[in-house]
């Protein structure tokens, strides 16, 4: 599958592991419940690449203490209208200082990518059937922004000059 990463289209080298399925070789993304149930075993897999997927109702504090274990945190948008993951992303970047990959999954569409990018997402699994090339253009929709966020430390009024 192709995804957007750091504003480029790349082949995804992470595998999502269903709960209960055997752990494959390579880089894996597991659910929060699996992480909780199999914490020790998964920590053993850290060096070959471990990521976690949070569902929309799961919050940043659920993984705050464990963040060092994850190279990828994937946050789900069950519908693009469900904006909880924006806040989760903002907290992970702005408060917990997560430096790894923050990935948007689910109903990820061109018209929201600009906002997702602003709050700290740097990887996007664009929804199936949508043009990933088209989605790539979304980063340039706006050049000026009013608020500080993960991408910009200062509000516009300190940048008006």
């Amino acid at each position: 599958m192709r995804i957007i990463k750091q504003r480029e289209i790349v082949e995804d080298d992470w595998q999502r592991v269903e709960d209960g399925a055997a752990l494959p070789e390579g880089k894996i993304i597991v659910s929060l419940s699996r992480w909780k149930a199999e914490r020790e075993a998964l920590i053993g897999r850290r060096n070959s690449g471990l990521g976690i997927q949070l569902a929309a109702g799961e919050h940043a504090d659920d993984i705050a203490a464990d963040l060092d274990n994850f190279e990828v945190v994937a946050l789900s948008f069950p519908s693009f209208r469900d904006g909880r993951a924006y806040t989760t992303a903002r907290l992970l970047r702005g408060h917990y200082g997560f430096k790894g990959e923050l990935r948007a999954t689910g109903d990820v569409l061109r018209d929201q990518i600009f906002f997702m990018h602003r709050v700290g997402f740097d990887a996007f699994e664009v929804k199936e059937g949508r043009s990933i090339e088209d989605a790539l253009k979304a980063f340039d929709d706006f050049k000026v922004t009013y608020q500080p966020s993960a991408d910009e430390g200062q509000p516009l009024w300190r940048r008006r000059g």
Binding site: K143, Y146, W157
Partner: protein, 551 residues
């Protein structure tokens, strides 16, 4: 008022380019209606019963004469020669063609206007006291803070897909004219014990299916924390507000379910994270914003005017208009004039292209070129020299906008209802018009004193019926339009929610029912008592008894 600089213009231009692209994709069939819907809604474009409806933002209800002229021009060029001023201090056009939208938005941008966030589950247009900056009872002008909030909330990346829409109001006055207890969040400028001016913060008010009076979450926050504190409220709401049921998704339900103490604790906990401290306002930014709203160069004038006093004594029509539609100004020799958009035979809040052009001219001639819109669906000229009231009154009469009924029984707030709105159960506008016709004896209406009657065409309550002293709600009874009546609501300082009087009335029975309510009030009233005070004193029973006596 606020003036855009190159950055504000650029943001608007980029937004309009983005939307033009979206419209083109839709017209080419690359976007389905289902996919396009949320995108157009982000720009205030609704699909109504007959056509597209566009809602244009009038930030905190402040409008220049040039902007009003452009709104008039748009009504002529793109619509059917009229616009509808709404209960959010905005304007709506009812007959818009999708393919013309991009050009229309560019015409708006020429006068620094837009339709951004006039719908969708985001922070909506911010509203204020329509007398902000000129009211006698004001501690400080809230408009600079409204503009600060407007910029912060525009395309906020974290808070554009909230559980539900989010409405903010501000006031700096002692008397609440902005219905602050019926907003998702509201700010009131107050002075603390140390003599410092800051904000009291209210959250969790709202109307709709579950009307709730807002609660104070903070007695006082310093001005510089306006945005950083707002972010924490929004963050808790965005993270934890309900998304499983559209009717339980407003912040009022979250506050109700958690309780105000627990909600406050969660907001404080987020605030303690210090994530938004770069949004703390420095004095220089507050001063920069205030400069945009600095008082104009008022002339030194005496308080009264002999000719006006004489006319008040001689002309009853003038006196009646002056009583209801003129408000004291903070500067001696000036007056605030409310232009009534509630004449007979017109939908409350509607104005024609010609009226808009003419009112823009009057604003230039009489009021330093600025205007306000009110959530009660009228317009305001804020800076009229008192000595010129008689000539202005004549001019307003000619235009048909001098109806002397402001804040009386026939200053009705009404939503568009079934004449336009696809969600409606019943029509609102014809009921408003019939009531205005029925109660056209100005002496009688004036004698009733302050009285608020509000009409909504469905439970979404766009017509604020819960907050009316008398509320009328359109309901559907086996496919027929019926009207439920509530009594005892109040929008402002003594905010309360109306209670249902009893079974709903048919289209034919609704006006007679209101007549009887008024009869009871007249019979039971103590001298000069307001309807709301009378109701609170005597309760629902006497009204109920009389209205349902023959049923």
């Amino acid at each position: 008022m606020y003036q855009y600089d190159k950055f504000d213009h650029q943001i608007l231009a980029e937004r309009n380019a983005q939307f033009r692209g979206q419209v083109e994709r839709r017209l080419r069939g690359e976007l389905t209606e289902e996919e396009f819907r949320p995108l157009r809604l982000m720009n205030g474009l609704y699909l109504q019963l007959h056509a597209y409806m566009l809602r244009v933002a009038i930030p905190y209800g402040v409008l220049s004469s040039a902007q009003l002229r452009q709104l008039a021009m748009i009504a002529r060029k793109y619509d059917r020669d009229y616009g509808h001023f709404t209960t959010r201090q905005n304007i709506q056009y009812n007959w818009i063609k999708l393919e013309e939208m991009p050009d229309l938005l560019e015409d708006l941008a020429k006068v620094e206007m837009h339709a951004i966030q006039t719908s969708g589950n985001c922070i909506r247009n911010i509203s204020t006291d329509q007398f902000a900056g000129v009211a006698r009872d004001e501690l400080e002008d809230p408009r600079p803070y409204a503009e600060i909030l407007r910029q912060w909330s525009t395309f906020h990346p974290e808070f554009s897909y909230l559980p539900r829409k989010f409405k903010i109001a501000l006031t700096g006055a002692e008397r609440d004219r902005a219905a602050i207890y019926f907003h998702d969040m509201a700010y009131r400028l107050v002075k603390n014990d140390a003599g410092e001016i800051g904000f009291q913060v209210i959250v969790g008010g709202g109307m709709g299916r579950t009307p709730i009076v807002g609660k104070v979450i903070k007695d006082f926050i310093p001005k510089r924390h306006l945005l950083s504190y707002s972010e924490s409220v929004m963050r808790v709401y965005n993270g934890y507000g309900r998304r499983d049921n559209i009717y339980k998704a407003r912040i009022k339900i979250l506050v109700q379910e958690l309780g105000i103490e627990e909600f406050r604790r969660q907001v404080d906990a987020d605030y303690e994270l210090n994530m938004s401290r770069s949004l703390d306002l420095e004095d220089s930014e507050i001063e920069r914003m205030k400069a945009f709203f600095a008082p104009p160069a008022y002339r030194a004038l005496p308080e009264g005017d002999a000719a006006v006093t004489a006319l008040l004594a001689d002309s009853k029509p003038f006196r009646m208009w002056h009583d209801r539609n003129v408000t004291a100004h903070k500067v001696p020799g000036y007056s605030i004039v409310t232009i009534s958009l509630k004449p007979k035979g017109v939908a409350p809040g509607d104005a024609t292209t010609d009226q808009m052009y003419a009112i823009a001219d009057l604003s230039d001639e009489y009021s330093l070129g600025t205007l306000r819109t009110t959530y009660k669906q009228n317009l305001v000229l804020t800076d009229v020299e008192t000595s010129r009231l008689p000539e202005l009154w004549e001019r307003l009469k000619t235009l048909g906008v001098a109806t002397a009924t402001v804040d009386t029984l026939t200053d009705i707030i009404a939503c568009p209802g079934l004449d336009y709105c696809s969600l409606a159960n019943a029509r609102s506008i014809p009921v408003a018009q019939r009531l205005i016709d029925r109660f056209d004896d100005l002496d009688f209406v004036h004698d009733l004193g302050e009285l608020r009657l509000n009409i909504s065409g469905c439970i979404n309550a766009c017509g604020h019926h819960h907050a009316g002293n008398i509320g009328i709600l359109g309901v559907d009874k086996k496919g027929e339009e019926f009207y439920q009546v509530t009594l005892g609501g109040s929008p402002e300082d003594d905010a309360s929610i109306g209670k249902i009087m009893g079974p709903a009335f048919s289209e034919d029975d609704i006006v007679p029912a209101i007549e009887k309510v008024i009869e009871v009030f007249v019979a039971k009233r103590e001298p000069d008592e307001r309807f709301i005070d009378c109701y609170r004193r005597i309760g629902m029973e006497p009204f109920k008894e009389r209205v349902y006596a023959d049923h």
